[in-house]
């Protein structure tokens, strides 16, 4: 079998069009989320290390660079949630008898679950 032909494409293709750009932003939100999860894991590790280590790490988290990172990561995470739940009806067609459940109801119940999850976590932690 011959190898498939790939048309050469410059690495900047995603800058040529708004839809491509938003696609790339959505893909890159996962990078910020992954970095945040590493910082969260370090936080858990510092809690295990004792009160002094924990307080020193929280002080580090209060530095301008760390706060800026978390604000950007929060924006990225919100963008991930919104795009993920909005696309959920595309990936999962729910049928009730003969009729297909409208997309708005599937997306709506996803957003409702998000609100409930957020409130439960905030209630437990705070």
């Amino acid at each position: 079998m011959s190898r498939p032909y790939y048309r050469p494409m410059p690495g900047t293709w995603w800058l040529t069009n708004r839809a491509y750009f938003l696609f790339m932003v959505r893909e890159l939100t996962s990078v910020f989320i992954a970095i945040y999860l590493v910082l969260l894991l370090i936080l858990i590790n510092r809690i295990a290390a004792g009160p002094d280590a924990y307080r020193a790490y929280v002080t580090l988290l209060a530095s301008p660079g760390m706060l800026a990172f978390h604000l950007i990561a929060l924006a990225g995470a919100l963008y991930h949630s919104i795009t993920w739940f909005s696309l959920a009806p595309r990936g999962l067609a729910v049928r009730l008898g003969e009729r297909r459940v409208p997309d708005a109801i599937i997306a709506g119940s996803n957003f409702a679950a998000w609100v409930v999850a957020t409130l439960v976590i905030a209630w437990i932690v705070l």
């Binding site: 410059p10 996962s30 992954a34 999860l37 936080l43 209060a62 990561a73 995470a77 739940f85 437990i124």
Partner: protein
Amino acid sequence: MKRSSEPLWWSLFAAGGVVAALFVPVLILLTGIVAPVGWAGQAFAYERIAALVGHPLSRLFLFTVISLPLFHWAHRFRFTLVDLGFRGARSAIAIACYGAAIVGTAVAAFVLIRL
């Protein structure tokens, strides 16, 4: 016929996408902004937070919320790199991305079990 591992990676990607969408924004807000700025008063005092994180259900939750989204990242980042033109290094990229997620999962398990 050679069995493909794609369904496994895709399932982890999808599960990680759901977990990240539901829980990551509120966690970033709490641990990255509310706690360091000090808006929550005594909620993040050491004794309280150590007891909360040490609960078995909290550990299970934290393991899930760290591990699955790492596989979500791995799957997305793998194809993003290929899309950006690193087509020649396809298998190396896949191994590096999923490998990083597996290492992250192992470290998370180690930290949370030892807690």
